[in-house]
């Protein structure tokens, strides 16, 4: 009998006041009973609209039915058949615009909490410690994956399942990409990321850290070494700045820098050496997930006031609903329809204020969102001692500038055939932010998955 409750079983969360001071995970996860209760809300539609909304095609009704029946390990197996990083996706996917956005239950009431259930299954199996890793006999073919982020990990996992010998070349000291350097501990514990990566290693994937491909070795050299195909998932690159006066002042940084110091370099732990800027009042410019991560991290680092300064209104915010909601609960102050025009410095060259102008929404622009227009004469100065720019990135230039035959578009994104993720260079495939510009973890994973299938076909047809 389906559970016809209009709302999801609530997710247990730490108290906002308590959690805004620590880096412990905010959402603590369903119990088995909660998961079964929520799973019972799924109607098991034959048409499976939710699956169409999933970039990696997780068989959603199937795994939910298994949870409802108490077969949690079976549910995990169903998920991992198509998704190599379930504990990650259950936490960071924008479910509301993907699987849950298509859920029939969402027409009237809340959709089924698919993300929460996915997380539950992954956490259950991990905590039980009895996951079984299938190792496939090697087929003798070598594939190189450049970048150990979501796209690369997914591509590597899928290829390993097919018997390929996969080597991931990671630029940092640890694999994980944005899951390690970008998304904070309180949203995605690093231990979980590393355990998902360990699963890949158990499947036979080799990870070589400290390897910046394009510098230490080129793609051509990798191919000469015997890699038959290469997947480029090198991720997002240079952070954008606004080009307004004062961005060179002390106390102004990109969200990438701020978050990397805190997450990858663990600057929030006193025993780690990497310094993180100390702030009283922080303005984070932007309205995406990265902006929310930076703002919520700033609170935890001890800032008294943290502002999100966003030029459109909340309805246009690209961040996940849950992130906005959590940020508000924790005390982040939202200055929507505001845009910075100048950063003001004190006599020591340290930022001490941000001149903003108020905006209103005009006609829709090419993105379909209503264009923000300045309200003349509405400038004012916001007192801040730190400004974190979180207005996007442009793709990393290292690979495209060192690989002959690899075409990029005028924004620097690697050009691919979207059906196959094949680049203009034979045997080289690409996906994730390196192709799309800054996007989501799950889209990168989808691209990694598509590329893995294409690479398999390419090598088999050789």
């Amino acid at each position: 009998m389906a559970n016809m409750a209009m709302e999801k079983v609530p997710m247990p969360e730490r108290d906002p006041k308590e959690r805004a001071k620590c880096f412990e995970e905010v959402a603590t996860g369903y119990t088995a009973a909660m998961a079964q209760e929520e799973a019972a809300r799924c109607l098991g539609c034959k048409a499976m609209p939710c699956v169409k909304g999933c970039p990696v095609g997780v068989q959603i009704p199937d795994f939910i039915q298994k949870i409802a029946a108490g077969d949690f390990e079976g549910a995990y197996d169903t998920i991992t058949a198509t998704n190599s990083l379930p504990a990650v996706c259950g936490r960071v996917c924008p479910q509301e615009s993907q699987c849950e956005g298509k859920c029939v239950r969402g027409v009237k009431g809340e959709p089924v909490g698919i993300g929460r259930l996915e997380r539950f299954a992954a956490d259950y199996v991990r905590e039980k410690g009895n996951k079984k890793i299938e190792t496939v006999p090697s087929n003798g073919h070598k594939v190189a994956v450049i970048g150990g982020g979501p796209a690369g990990l997914t591509c590597a996992g899928d290829l390993a399942k097919l018997g390929y010998q996969v080597t991931i070349f990671e630029a940092f000291q640890v694999a994980g990409g944005v899951l390690m350097y970008g998304i904070p501990e309180f949203r995605l514990p690093k231990q979980i990321v590393q355990e998902e990566i360990n699963n890949l290693k158990d499947m036979g994937v080799e990870i070589r850290t400290n390897m910046v491909i394009g510098k230490i070795q080129s793609i051509d050299e990798l191919m000469e070494e015997g890699f038959e195909a290469v997947f480029v998932g090198s991720g997002a690159g240079l952070p954008r700045f606004m080009g307004i006066p004062g961005e060179g002042l002390i106390g102004v940084c990109s969200a990438n820098e701020y978050l990397t110091r805190i997450n990858l370099m663990k600057g929030y732990l006193p025993e780690y050496e990497t310094p993180v800027i100390k702030s009283k009042a922080v303005a984070v410019v932007g309205g995406g997930n990265v902006a929310m991560d930076a703002a919520r991290s700033a609170l935890r680092m001890g800032a008294e006031h943290v502002y999100i300064v966003y030029r459109r209104s909340e309805a246009e915010m690209p961040a996940r609903l849950e992130e906005v909601h959590h940020a508000k609960e924790e005390g982040v102050e939202f200055l929507n329809l505001n845009n910075p025009v100048e950063l003001i410095g004190d006599e020591n060259g340290r930022v001490c204020g941000m001149k903003c102008i108020r905006m209103e929404l005009g006609e829709p622009d090419e993105s379909g969102r209503r264009r923000p227009v300045e309200i003349k004469g509405s400038e004012y100065v916001l007192d801040v001692d730190t400004v974190i720019m979180s207005i996007g990135t442009s793709p990393n230039p290292l690979i495209r500038s060192t690989t002959e035959g690899l075409e990029a578009n005028r924004w620097g994104c690697i050009v691919v055939n979207e059906e196959t993720m094949a680049t203009t260079k034979e045997g080289v495939y690409a996906g994730g932010d390196a192709v799309t510009g800054a996007a989501t973890v799950i889209l990168a994973m989808g691209a990694g998955k598509t590329a893995a299938a294409s690479i398999d076909e390419y090598i088999r047809s050789k």
């Binding site: 990671e170 630029a171 940092f172 000291q173 640890v174 694999a175 350097y181 590393q194 290693k201 080799e206 990870i207 070589r208 850290t209 400290n210 390897m211 910046v212 510098k215 230490i216 070795q217 991720g235 997002a236 690159g237 240079l238 952070p239 700045f241 080009g243 961005e247 060179g248 002042l249 002390i250 106390g251 940084c253 990109s254 990438n256 820098e257 990397t260 110091r261 370099m265 025993e271 780690y272 050496e273 990497t274 310094p275 800027i277 100390k278 020591n348 060259g349 990135t393 990393n396 230039p397 290292l398």
Partner: protein
């Protein structure tokens, strides 16, 4: 308490370790009280390194990622040479390692190698203090390629003069100067440079590597003579691959990233004042942190 944290960090470090090269220190020389030279086994980096490029090191799990310019490389022996000044915690920790110890992480070669414009014949390489360690491979490469190379090496005083013999071997003329006159010519590198130019010496290119004020004033000196001047910048940096944006510098009014666009830039276009300011971002914090640690030690 601190020990427990360290143990946890070590366990974590083990947990996080992945397939990796061991970056073994094969040679170590203390050049002066503040400057240490080490040779590190890093065959892949040694194979690719070019003058002007840098590496990023991390001494241990708790350490920062810190950029250092590659001072020399031995492609056959598979080693790179690093010469560094003890300026912060990380360089101090690096200096504590001995032959046989290894560095946890070493990434490189990063950055764009120095590009010498085609019509250049005569180059003046200027090093200031530990900047001489980076100026040296430049002078060596240029000299070996047949350029006419003069070197001006400036130091605060006699005690910190380094690489004099090395420079002598790779230059047509070497001018060593000290601020206090305790060794060589008394005065700043800019005075020596101006004197050379005014006495009729023709330089097609000046390469200046050293403290920011030195590079700034070398550029001010060469500007009226319209001599192209390349500087090697050392801004705040974390990843070194064009991701964090910490190393942004203003060059010709535009944002450039030292890790992927540099570290070499046209010195006449660089906003040195901004660079100097931004390099001080974490100085107070590091000082405070060191004081805390000293106080901790005193307590025990």
């Amino acid at each position: 308490m601190c020990d427990i944290i360290k143990t946890i960090a070590q366990i974590q470090a083990k947990f996080y370790r992945e397939v990796n090269t061991v970056f073994l220190i094969t040679e170590k020389t203390v050049l002066n009280q503040d400057v240490v030279k080490i040779k590190v086994s890093a065959p892949l980096i040694a194979k690719k390194a070019l003058p002007g490029q840098f590496i990023i090191f991390r001494v241990n799990e708790l350490g920062e990622r810190v950029p250092l310019t590659i001072a020399d490389y031995d492609r056959e022996g598979g080693t790179i040479t690093l010469i560094f000044q003890l300026v912060g915690n990380s360089t101090r920790q690096l200096a504590q390692l001995e032959v046989g110890d290894s560095i946890l992480d070493l990434v490189g070669p990063l950055g764009v190698a120095t590009e010498i414009p085609e019509d250049v014949k005569s180059v003046c390489v200027i090093g200031g203090g530990v900047g001489c360690a980076i100026a040296y491979p430049q002078a060596k490469a240029l000299f070996n390629q047949g350029y006419d190379v003069d070197v001006i090496a400036g130091f605060r005083n006699k005690d910190i003069v380094i690489l004099e013999n090395e420079f002598k071997a790779v230059s047509n003329n070497l001018y060593v100067c000290t601020d206090d006159g305790s060794y060589g010519i008394k005065g700043l590198v800019t005075a020596v440079l101006k004197e050379q130019i005014d006495s009729g010496k023709k330089y097609d290119l000046v390469i200046a590597i050293g403290p920011i004020p030195m590079m700034k004033f070398v550029c001010k000196t060469t500007e009226p003579y319209e001599i192209k001047t390349i500087v090697s910048l050392n801004p705040v940096m974390i990843d070194g691959t064009g991701m964090c944006g910490g190393c942004r510098v203003t060059v010709g009014g535009k944002i450039k990233y030292a890790c992927v666009d540099g570290p070499d830039f046209d010195g006449h276009q660089v906003d040195f004042d901004e660079l100097m300011r931004r390099n001080g971002t974490y100085r107070e914090q590091e000082h405070e942190c060191r004081m805390m640690k000293l106080a901790d030690k005193a307590d025990k």
